[in-house]
Structure formats: structure tokens, C-alpha cells
């Protein structure tokens, strides 16, 4: 059941973007083949083509030497190709069993035979040493378990070639290690794994062969044994990497953001942030690291004012804003770059200038007696477009027409426009290209250099380490450790993220 995959001259265009440009790749059977590249290099598009979700504009796919064309994922599955997407394709309210069999239900006369499915799955789980709780609803499972469900799902659907798209982005380094073991197990039983990532260390650890992509093209292919992080990084970025930002020294300015013993409950009344305290000073970048879903996003929402706090207090520049509205917090100098730029950070159907004005419409500069001063607004917007190099057809096109990187630039431009005192940045570079990433990171650092305080919450451990003066680690709603980036390692942070205490204790400040 081993399968060799050949991709020949695969090309895919999206409006305004050439996502894949004559890509060639050979994936040998029974190996782990890594595809690495920066965000936007075309990895995910290529894999979506291989898994039948997209159709290529040009080029062909060969499975064991035979040309195939996949109109939809089902046809790809029939040829044994299955994909685990970065965003899990699970239905949260359904049981694990129902999720796995969805679309391939064993049935008699249209009625599902769950007992048959259970038997098949038990065998499958035993064979690959991948246990999942079949009767639990998916929403009750931790992320790493959901990922395992996705893998079992792909195997159940008959995958011989398993595509894992950025599988470690939601895992701690330790959980990643468990995943790698599972991958090894799969390969030893004849499966082929395609491993998509931009984290070079883990790629070297798990892969047999590595293809490097940049700007929609394959710029290098080599056995893992011949590769080093350095060579891979150079191929990926196209030049020597100078991503080593130097965070501002060790400032101890006035406290700008003070969070004291804050507790936040979610809609179900569960405490998702527990008794969290910390302070961010002027001129400082405070990083918060943690595996997604450990309370960071609720913490941020509570600080911003989008969800209420249950107990504790929040001060911005010594003003108590615990009960204040978003508007008042913004007036106190808070700005926020949200994780979800498409839905929270912008209004895609509204004109760009309206997007750039958001949050400032009440400023005397922009309105008098409730009337907008449209000429001033227009000057302000076109000034931001020029200053931040936002590529757009005009100020009047809907924001949704901008590319991901430009949209993020627009958000950053707006939030930094009038010199923030406190910037909260949540995964500010997720999913944007390398150029925009450098730009955004530099802007974030400039806020701190200019005397502002920055709270950086990111799932990208390297980003947190590169930009922060201090790092707090969150686990299960609590701060479980504080480290200086120079005195810690990714390893140690990973252990903390997994909830395993190492040395020292957290002092809460």
C-alpha cells in the first residue's frame, strides 16, 4: 500500500497572487517528507491541491506513476491521500466517533451502523497505537487530542499518504515530541507523511527529506541529513537571516499596565483566567507565551475590555479601568492588534478609510458636534497609507480587497497612528509574509523604544523570545513562570507551557 507522489509543474493563481509557480516535488513512499517555507510561500496551497480541495491551473499529479486529477477531497482520499488541516476540520458538538466517520459512515439502508464503526476504529487505534475517546464530544478534548482525532480520521478514510499542515503550531515542544513518535510509528508501518512547517528545528528532527519553498517555488530539496538550520533558513528567506532584533535594554519606566489578581470566566462560567497579576512598564515589551487555549485570548480580551473581569483589577497609567468600556481604555492610550484580523481587526466590506478611522471618530480632530470632518479624515487616511506603505488601489475600496500582509499593515498603522501608550499585540505576524513580518515586528519594538509599553501575546515562541524583555508563561489560565529571554531556552519555556514547573517560582510581578 506504499505510494509515491510526484508533483509536476503545479501552478495555482489566486486573484493578484501567484501562489504556486511550477512546483516540482517527488515524495517517496514510506518516508517523512517535510515542506518548509515562510508563511505565504505556497506550502498550504500546494497541499490543498494535492488533497483535492483546490484544482491546479496547470501541471499534473502522479500517484505511483499514474496521472490523477482530483476534483474534490473525496477523489484524493480514494487514492489514499488524506490531510490534517492547520485549522481542524472537526465539528465541535459531535462525538469523536461521528466526526471520524463523517462522510464515510458504515451503514445499512442509509442508517449508520455505529457498532461496525466502533469495531473498525478499535482495530485501527490498536494497530497504530493511537487511542482516542470515541464517545466524547470533540469540544471537551484538549487540542493535542483533537489533532490525534484528525489523524485517526485520515487513517480511517484510508490515507496512505498523510499530509500534516503545521501540526506543531498548536502543541508544546513536549507534545510535539509525542506527535513525532506517532509519525515514526506510522512510517514504520508503511505510511508516507508530508510534514508542513516553518520551524526548522523540528523539521530536522522528524523528516527524511526536505523541500524548501519560497514565493511559490521550490528553491531547494535535500536529505535531512545534509541540512542544517542555517542552510534551510537561508534558502527559505533568500538571504542571510537577520531576524535577531535586539529588544530595548532593561527599562524600568513607570508602570503603564497593571493587572492585579484578575479572574475571568467564560460563557459557561468556568474560570479561564485565574488570579493573574503582572505589570508592564513604559519602554518594555512583556511577552506572554503559552499553548493556544490556555487563557491568553481571554486575558487579552479582558484587558482590552471586550469581556468582563470576574475579580481583580486593571489599571492603565494608574487609572482604574477595571469596569471601563473599550472606548475609555482606548482614550487612556490603549491600542490593540487582535489575533483575528479578518473579523475583529477590520470590517472587510467597509472602505479602507473607514477602517483606518475606527477608534478615533470621536477625536476632536476628526469630528465636531457629532459631524465627521471628512477632509481631515481623508488626509489622515492617505497619510497612514503612505507612511506605512499599505498597498491599495484607493482609500475607497473595501478593506477586504487588501492582501493579508497589507491588511495587517493597515491595522498596525491605525493602532500606532497617534502614538500609543500601551500596545497589546496578539499574534501580530501570524500568516503574513516575511517582509510584512519584519515590518510589523520593527513597529512593535519602536513603540517600546518611544516609551510605550507593549504586551505581546504570541504562539510563536521564537517571536516572543526575539522581541520581549521579559516572558511570562501561561498554562491553564495561570501564570506559571517568568523568565528573561537571555536566561532561558525554548526547551524550558516548552516545559512551562506544558504545565511542568522547572526551577524557581513565579513571584507574580
Amino acid at each position: 500500500m506504499q505510494k509515491e507522489i510526484r508533483l509536476e509543474n503545479i501552478t495555482k493563481r489566486f486573484p493578484g497572487v501567484l501562489a504556486d509557480d511550477h512546483v516540482n516535488m517527488i515524495i517517496s513512499a514510506g518516508t517523512v517528507h517535510a515542506v518548509v517555507g515562510e508563511n505565504g510561500a505556497g506550502k498550504s496551497t500546494l497541499m490543498n491541491i494535492l488533497s483535492g480541495l483546490y484544482q491546479p491551473d496547470d501541471g499534473r499529479i502522479l500517484v505511483d506513476g499514474e496521472q490523477v486529477r482530483f476534483e474534490n477531497p473525496r477523489q484524493a482520499m480514494r487514492r489514499g491521500i488524506g490531510m490534517v488541516h492547520q485549522e481542524f476540520m472537526l465539528v465541535r458538538n459531535l462525538t469523536v466517533l461521528d466526526n471520524i466517520i463523517l462522510g464515510f459512515e458504515p451503514s445499512r439502508a442509509g442508517m449508520i451502523s455505529r457498532s461496525v464503526a466502533r469495531r473498525v476504529l478499535k482495530d485501527l487505534m490498536n494497530a497504530y497505537k493511537l487511542d482516542v475517546p470515541l464517545d466524547e464530544t470533540v469540544e471537551r478534548l484538549p487540542v493535542s487530542m483533537q489533532q490525534r482525532v484528525e489523524i485517526v480520521k485520515a487513517l480511517y478514510r484510508g490515507a496512505d499518504v498523510l499530509i500534516l499542515d503545521e501540526p506543531t503550531s498548536v502543541l508544546t515542544p513536549q507534545e510535539s515530541r509525542v506527535l513525532f513518535a506517532a509519525i515514526r510509528e506510522l512510517v514504520s508501518r508503511g505510511k508516507t507523511v508530508i510534514f508542513i512547517s516553518h520551524k526548522l528545528g523540528e523539521v530536522l528532527e522528524v523528516a527524511d527529506r526536505i523541500s524548501v519553498m519560497r514565493d511559490g517555488r521550490v528553491v531547494g530539496e535535500l536529505p535531512a541529513s545534509d541540512a542544517t538550520e542555517r542552510t534551510l533558513a537561508r534558502l527559505m528567506v533568500g538571504r542571510d537571516v537577520l531576524m535577531n532584533f535586539t529588544p530595548p535594554g532593561k527599562p524600568q519606566g513607570d508602570p503603564v499596565l497593571e493587572v492585579k489578581e484578575m479572574t475571568v470566566k467564560d460563557a459557561r462560567g468556568l474560570e479561564v483566567v485565574k488570579q493573574v497579576s503582572f505589570t508592564v512598564h513604559a519602554g518594555e515589551v512583556l511577552g506572554i507565551a503559552g499553548v493556544a487555549g490556555n487563557g491568553q485570548s481571554e486575558l487579552v480580551k479582558a484587558i482590552v475590555g471586550l469581556v468582563p473581569t470576574c475579580s481583580g483589577s486593571i489599571h492603565i497609567s494608574r487609572r482604574d479601568v477595571t469596569k471601563a468600556s473599550v472606548k475609555h481604555r482606548r482614550q487612556a492610550g490603549m491600542r490593540y492588534i487582535p489575533q483575528d484580523r479578518a473579523w475583529v481587526g477590520t470590517c472587510r466590506q467597509s472602505a479602507l478609510w473607514k477602517n483606518l478611522l475606527m477608534g478615533y471618530e470621536h477625536y476632536r480632530k476628526f469630528s465636531r458636534f457629532g459631524l465627521l470632518r471628512l477632509d481631515v479624515v481623508r488626509r489622515f487616511a492617505s497619510d497612514l497609507v503612505a507612511r506605512f506603505g499599505i498597498k491599495t488601489a484607493s482609500l475607497y475600496v473595501p478593506a477586504g480587497t487588501l492582501s493579508g500582509g497589507n491588511l495587517q499593515k493597515a491595522i498596525v498603522a491605525r493602532e500606532l497612528a497617534l502614538g500609543p501608550r500601551l500596545l497589546i499585540a496578539e499574534d501580530p505576524t501570524r500568516g503574513i509574509d516575511i517582509g510584512a513580518t519584519e515590518f510589523v515586528r520593527r513597529q512593535v519594538l519602536q513603540v517600546a523604544e518611544g516609551g510605550g509599553a507593549v504586551l505581546l501575546v504570541s504562539q510563536d515562541l521564537q517571536e516572543v523570545m526575539a522581541l520581549s524583555n521579559r516572558i511570562l508563561v501561561m498554562h491553564k489560565g495561570q501564570i506559571v513562570g517568568e523568565r528573561m529571554p537571555a536566561e532561558t531556552t525554548e526547551e524550558e519555556l516548552g516545559l512551562l507551557m506544558a504545565g511542568r514547573a522547572t526551577r524557581g517560582t513565579h513571584d507574580g510581578r
Binding site: 482606548r330 466590506q349 478611522l357 477608534g359 459631524l371 465627521l372 484607493s394
Partner: protein, 378 residues
């Protein structure tokens, strides 16, 4: 829509888009009228003649035009009421009920209160508008405060409004021995001083038309130029972004909901003070629902409401004259209106795409976009 305030440059491309848009309206209307025509011919009448009668009845002469303007007035107000809500993401389908409450309270003030001159009229108008606003308060609070679906609640409140006004008039105003036939359940006539001045006496067209047009322009200006209008627009399109930016989504949503009810109540008040001069139970069915269709035809543009409302007046008035002059029931026009809207929602671009896909299936590989999701309102 909505973004031309900062001097949008007009290009040939845009002119083309405008023409295509206009063609869509014409084709949709023609298709609706054709099906209406088939129904008319089943009745044994000549559809061309029937439509001619409709047009003459609506536009042939002073009397006809005056009556068309009379019908355009509630259409504009109801359309505006709906649009205010839709623009802010509030699906107020209770304009009908708010209109009834406005009509009833305006009649109450009109006959039971004595005030000098114009003050009486203005008080009655204001009371009607406030009644509409008050009636929208319940679904607004239930939605904004408790997150309870406003569509079902406003629909339910329409029925409650029909029956509640009927009940109050019959039991408390006429004394319960009164008639049981709805249209005979009426309040006394309102005082002369509360009536809206007529535009061309003796015809029913009244200054309510100016109120409607003026309000439409005002609402347009509100959305284009004011801070609140800007914020409301964002709330309607993406509440999460608005909340992120510091807009108080609940408060503004409430405001839009109540403003929508206010205009709905005003529509009812104008009907009573301008035309009927007394409140009759179940006096007008569907003016409120027409508002939904009008809002769609005007693409939620307050200025667009004016021509669409006038067009609605033509259809409504013409339908009455068609009913008088031929054996065709005026309800044919309700079908034509509904079909007009339904055909307009058919997107020619999508049809072309589908044809292309079908053709492609036989030949070259097909392109497909990313995952499609379908919006929902629950």
C-alpha cells in the same frame, strides 16, 4: 453605497456597473409583470390592457397622481423604518406592528385631546412616533440585553398589535357591545386641528409625503456624515470590529432598533392623521412588510427609498384602479411585487458562472474557490 461621501471618482467602469444594475431591475420587474400578466389572462382579461389601466390610474391626471403620492407616503416611511434597522444589523420585521401602535395612539391623541392649531397635529404625530418606538422597546431589550432572536419576536408582536388595538378599541372605546367585524371597530374621528394639511385638496395626498422625503434625506445624511452614522454602519456590517474599536454595540443597536420603531410609528400616525382620520381595527395589512421589500429594492440606501417608495405608490394606487376597471383582483400586484424582489435576488453573475462550470465539466479542469460558507442570522 455608503462610501461615496469622500468624493469617489467616477469611472467608465462604474458607469457600466450602474447600467448593469439598472438592467437587472428592469429585467426583474418585467419577469414579475409577465407572470402577473399570465395570471391576469387566466382571469380572462387582457394583461396589456390591465397594466395600461394600472398606469393610467396611477399617473393619468391630477387626481391619479395625487392618489399615487398618497400611497407613496407610507411606503417611503415603512421602507425607511426597515432600512434604519437593516443598516445597523437589526432585523426589525415588526414595522407592521409599530405602525399599528403609532396609528392607534395618534388617533387617540387626535380625537381625545384639544390643542390649539398645529400643536395638536404635531402632538399627535409625535405621540404616534413615540408609540411605535415604545412598541419596539420590548424586542429591542430582549435582543440586546438577553440575546433573544429579534425576528421571531417582532413577527409575533405584529399579531399582538393587530389584536391588542382591536381589543382596546372595541372594549374600552366602543364599549364591548360594539361590532365584531374588524373594520367596523373604529375610534371616533379625530379633530380638524390634528389632521395633516392636504397637498392638493380634496385629494388624500398630504404633507406626510414631505415628512417622509425629508426624513429619508436626513437619514442619508446621518449615515454619511455623522459619527453615530459611521459607527452604526460598522455595527451593521461587523459588530465584532465595532466593539473592538470601542463602539458601544448594544447601545447603538438599541438606538437603531428604537429609531426604526419610531419611524414605523410615524408611518402609522401619518396614515391616520393624513388619510383615515380615525383608527379602524386591521385598517391596513402589509404596509409594514412592504417595507422589507422596499428596503431591499433600495439596497438599504435611504435616498433610494424615495424613488422606490414612489414606484410602490404607483403600483398600489394603480392596482386599486385596475381592480375597479377590470375583474382582476388587486392582489395580483402583491404577487408582482414579491416576484420583482425574488427575481432581483437572482444573480446573473452566478448563473454565468454555473453555465461556465457546466461547460467546463465536459472539457478542461475546473477552478474552485476556497471553502464556501453560507451566512446565517441566528
Amino acid at each position: 453605497m455608503g462610501d461615496r461621501s469622500v468624493g469617489n471618482p467616477r469611472t467608465a467602469k462604474m458607469r457600466n456597473a450602474v447600467l448593469t444594475e439598472a438592467a437587472k431591475y428592469v429585467v426583474a420587474l418585467l419577469l414579475g409583470m409577465t407572470i402577473g400578466g399570465v395570471l391576469i389572462s387566466f382571469k380572462g382579461e387582457d394583461p396589456v390592457f390591465a397594466y395600461k389601466v394600472l398606469l393610467e390610474g396611477a399617473l393619468g391626471g391630477r387626481a391619479a397622481i395625487a392618489q399615487t403620492l398618497r400611497w407613496a407616503t407610507p411606503a417611503i416611511l415603512a421602507g425607511l423604518a426597515t432600512t434604519i434597522g437593516f443598516r445597523a444589523g437589526v432585523f426589525n420585521l415588526g414595522v407592521e406592528g409599530q405602525l399599528y401602535m403609532g396609528a392607534f395612539v395618534a388617533a387617540l391623541v387626535g380625537y381625545s385631546v384639544a390643542l390649539p392649531g398645529r400643536a395638536h397635529m404635531i402632538a399627535a404625530l409625535g405621540a404616534g412616533a413615540l408609540a411605535g418606538a415604545a412598541y419596539s422597546l420590548l424586542p429591542a431589550v430582549l435582543w440586546m440585553r438577553y440575546g433573544i432572536n429579534e425576528v421571531v419576536n417582532t413577527l409575533m408582536l405584529n399579531y399582538v398589535a393587530y389584536l391588542l388595538t382591536e381589543y382596546v378599541v372595541r372594549v374600552f372605546i366602543m364599549s364591548s357591545s360594539g361590532s365584531v367585524v374588524p373594520l367596523q371597530i373604529v375610534t371616533p374621528e379625530i379633530a380638524e386641528s390634528a389632521r395633516l394639511p392636504l397637498l392638493f385638496p380634496p385629494y388624500q395626498a398630504n404633507v406626510g409625503l414631505f415628512i417622509g422625503v425629508l426624513l429619508a434625506i436626513l437619514v442619508y445624511f446621518f449615515f454619511q456624515r455623522t459619527v453615530w452614522g459611521y459607527e452604526l454602519d460598522i455595527v451593521g456590517r461587523n459588530p465584532a470590529f465595532a466593539a473592538y474599536g470601542g463602539v458601544s454595540v448594544r447601545r447603538l443597536g438599541m438606538l437603531a432598533f428604537i429609531a426604526s420603531g419610531l419611524v414605523g410609528g410615524l408611518a402609522g400616525a401619518v396614515e391616520i392623521l393624513g388619510v383615515h382620520h380615525k383608527f379602524a381595527a386591521q385598517f391596513s395589512i402589509n404596509l409594514g412588510f412592504d417595507g422589507v421589500l422596499i428596503a431591499l429594492l433600495a439596497k438599504n440606501d435611504p435616498l433610494g427609498i424615495i424613488p422606490v417608495g414612489l414606484f410602490w405608490g404607483i403600483l398600489r394606487n394603480g392596482a386599486y384602479s385596475m381592480e375597479r376597471m377590470t375583474s382582476v383582483s388587486r392582489i395580483v400586484i402583491q404577487v408582482v411585487q414579491a416576484l420583482f424582489v425574488l427575481f432581483l435576488t437572482v444573480d446573473a453573475g452566478v448563473i454565468r458562472q454555473m453555465l461556465r462550470r457546466r461547460r467546463a465539466l465536459r472539457g478542461k479542469p475546473v477552478q474552485k474557490g476556497a471553502t464556501t460558507t453560507h451566512g446565517s442570522l441566528v
